[in-house]
């Protein structure tokens, strides 16, 4: 019997969000997605949202969690790369809509597929990284900046390459002379085995190592670090907090201002964004209106899906910096500037400013 027959004619959408161990209240990635759902529910009071957490973080367990509850809901929002393998489940449950964040669905053999009931979104991290790079280059006083990442997976390499592109862009076009500091011992090896440089902690959950890297960079004169390293990033934040305001960081994915308070100050220069909440809400609206179409989308600045925080009181950028960032943002939107990315075909060093 098809699942649709047994379902009651729901007054509103029954939505579930399935997340990995950190839960919808991680104050970060998952929460941003959840906020998108909440915003939708606010406008459609008959809709219902349920948060489900899978505690191990293992991909098989993540899929099982989704399979356990799939019959109960109209929409499953699956946040995180762990859910890539959702393809099979989606094919078997064509009446359930899936919103997949940060990865595209794969079938049983691991090949990426496009499905009519799955809207999968990934983001051009290199663009966000680019804004971080420009901001860092404009704001540094020591003329030394750095980026810290978790593991050299494509998304992290994108952030790193974008950041480096941003610094190079600023050096060439905005009159800065800033050096990117890399600890040779922290060079990353990407998934193809190529050495991509950068500063990699080797884990997304090792705060202690994060702090050590932050300190080592600080010792080398770095005063701004772009941190895209999950929980490992907390360690870098700590290093910054202990520097008496001499070391600042740029947050990533969501506005991390609240994580940066130290005494009456804050170590967050700005945060660069993946705008997930708006996109999740938009897709939910499409489902509600019946205009939903499955797709695998790479979201970029052109849809305002990447960006940086310039809201007053949530950043410490100089007005001139914000102005220059806005200019760069427009160029990125128009694809005049295309930052380097892991598989974009060129490295930051090969980046050409048109």
């Amino acid at each position: 019997a098809g699942a649709a027959e047994t379902k009651p004619a729901a007054a509103g959408l029954n939505i579930a969000i399935i997340t990995t161990p950190s839960g919808v209240d991680d104050g970060s990635f998952n929460q941003d997605n959840y906020n998108g759902i909440l915003a939708f529910v606010k406008n459609h009071p008959t809709a219902k949202a349920t948060a489900i957490r899978e505690p191990s973080g293992d991909v098989a367990a993540a899929l099982k969690a989704a399979a356990d509850v799939v019959a109960e809901y109209d929409v499953l929002v699956c946040t995180g790369f762990q859910f890539a393998g959702i393809g099979e489940l989606a094919m078997e449950n064509p009446d359930t809509k899936f919103i997949l964040v940060d990865t595209y669905p794969t079938d049983a053999k691991g090949n990426t597929v496009e499905l009519p009931n799955v809207y999968a979104m990934t983001f051009a991290e290199q663009e966000s990284g680019f804004f971080a790079g420009v901001a860092a280059a404009l704001e540094t006083k020591t003329n030394k900046v750095a980026v810290v990442n978790g593991v050299a997976y494509p998304s992290n390499v994108n952030y790193q390459y974008g950041f480096e592109t941003g610094v190079i862009y600023a050096n060439k076009k905005l009159g800065t002379n800033v050096q990117i500091v890399e600890l040779p011992s922290r060079a990353g090896t990407d998934v193809t085995g190529a050495n991509v440089g950068g500063n990699y902690a080797g884990s997304f959950a090792d705060e202690a190592t994060g702090k050590v890297i932050g300190q080592q960079l600080f010792a080398q004169g770095v005063d701004i670090i772009f941190v895209a390293a999950g929980a490992t990033g907390n360690g870098v934040f700590t290093a910054a907090k202990e520097s008496n305001g001499r070391l600042k960081v740029i947050g990533c994915d969501v506005d991390q201002w609240d994580d940066g308070t130290v005494g009456s100050g804050n170590i967050i220069l700005t945060s660069v964004l993946k705008v997930m909440s708006l996109n999740v809400e938009r897709v939910l609206n499409q489902i509600q209106e019946g205009t939903f179409k499955g797709a695998n989308m790479l979201l970029k600045a052109d849809t305002d899906s990447t960006g940086f925080v310039k809201k007053a009181g949530r950043n410490q950028l100089a007005p001139s910096t914000i102005q220059k960032l806005d200019e760069a943002y427009a160029l990125v939107q128009k694809a005049v500037i295309v930052p380097a990315s892991n598989f974009g075909g060129f490295t930051p060093e090969q980046f050409k400013v048109n």
Binding site: G2, A3, T6, K7, A16, T50, I52, R53, E54, P55, S56, G57, D58, V59, A60, A61, K64, A65, A67, D68, V69, V70, A71, E72, F81, Q82, A84, G85, E88, L89, E92, N93, P94, T96, T103, T106, A108, G110, V151, Y153, P154, T189, V191, G202, S203, A205
Partner: protein, 376 residues
């Protein structure tokens, strides 16, 4: 008043007092107690405990859910429960066997990672015939586990090293070293885990079509059942089991009686290690298909408590595994239906294990009450 207390006492004696199946009755009593604690917890959170427990059973495939997704049914949920229970049975047996010999094997997690990794690397990526591959996976799992177990047993026997410390150290070393190899050689960039093993090497037939259903069929579940009876037989009926238990209760007296204590310790750890290794392959190449770097499976630690809940007996370990895994497998569904944090289930499980850890106290208390009752 007086009468009421004595009624409660009599009930308690009935549950934990002397007589047939005292251990079993005490365990059941602990289970009931912790379910009661869970009820209180759920009531405090304003949830309906009856619904919550029912949805756990539904999630685990013991009861029928109101509706099922495409190609799923209660049977598929139940088969999935068995699939997830399989590694726990092996792990709990591993702990139980070692405990019988007086050794505390806290290295199950590490051994699981090691054996899972060995099997993944040696067989998981090959194109061997499914039958051969699966047999090899089981053999490699048992063998690599046995090897580590032997190492622990040997270090304990020969160098008088505290097995708990050795195990803790080994857990971390294995976890980091395996993580190193996964990150540098076997990483899947999308899942950020080791590249999934081929279907040929998996010990679980995943999404196996049966009628219009898709099942998880744990091929090694029968092996787990066999292991339960084999271990029971070894402990109860064989010469080696006798020696193992003797060494566990009093190694000095065992030596005096001519039992080779070192040999018994090492062999016990070989068996315990092999079981942990089987837990590893049935976990990493069965219910899962890949390994998370730097993560020690919590199952290996839970198994300690599970073995205890099962009174370190083989049969007991099996049922305790099943019970704990019902909770584990049903949690997601419950948390989804009841809109509660899934930690509730983890809390109830912890409370259950706490109670079962003081089972001996309950038994003694019941004995005392009984004494009093008889004297009056």
């Amino acid at each position: 008043m007086l009468k009421r207390t004595s009624l409660i006492k009599r009930l308690f004696i009935l549950c934990c007092g002397k007589g047939r199946h005292q251990l079993l009755r005490t365990s059941l009593f602990c289970i009931v107690l912790s379910l009661l604690a869970g009820i209180i917890l759920l009531l405090l959170l304003g949830k309906n405990p009856w619904e919550a427990y029912r949805s756990i059973l539904q999630g685990a495939g013991i009861l029928a859910k109101p509706r099922y997704a495409g190609r799923k049914s209660q049977l598929t949920d139940f088969m999935s429960l068995l699939n997830y229970t399989t590694p726990m049975v092996f792990a709990a047996l591993s702990v139980a066997v070692a405990l019988k010999c007086g050794i505390f094997n806290i290295c199950v997690s590490g051994i699981m990672v090691f054996s899972g990794f060995m099997a993944t690397v040696l067989v998981g990526y090959s194109n061997l015939d499914p039958f051969v591959a699966k047999i090899l996976v089981v053999l490699i799992g048992a063998l690599s586990g046995a090897l580590l177990g032997m190492l622990i047993g040997y270090l304990k026997h020969r160098f008088n090293m505290n097995e708990v410390v050795v195990a803790i150290m080994l857990n971390y070393i294995i976890s980091y070293v395996v993580s190193f190899f996964i990150q540098t050689r076997f990483i899947d960039p999308i899942t950020r885990q080791s590249v999934a093993v081929t279907q040929n090497a998996r010990l679980t037939l995943f999404d196996y079509p049966v009628g219009n259903l898709k099942m998880e069929i744990a091929l090694v579940f029968p092996l787990a059942i066999f292991a339960v009876f084999a271990i029971k037989f070894v402990l109860d009926r064989t010469r080696f089991g006798f020696e193992l238990k003797a060494v566990g209760s009093n190694s000095k007296a065992s030596n005096y009686a001519g039992i080779q204590v070192g040999r018994a310790v090492v062999f016990t750890m070989i068996i315990s290690g092999a079981l942990a290794g089987l837990a590893g392959v049935s976990y990493y190449l069965g219910s899962n298909a890949s390994i998370q770097p730097r993560v020690l499976p919590s199952l290996g630690f839970d198994a300690i408590a599970v073995a205890l809940l099962g009174n370190t007996s083989a049969i007991g370990s099996f049922f305790a595994s099943l019970l704990v895994m019902i909770f584990d497998c049903g949690t997601t569904y419950m948390s989804s239906r009841m809109q509660v944090l899934r930690e509730i289930a983890a809390l109830i499980t912890s409370i259950l294990l706490l109670f079962s850890a003081i089972g001996i106290f309950f038994r003694n208390l019941a004995d005392r009450f009984q004494q009093e009752a008889e004297e009056v």
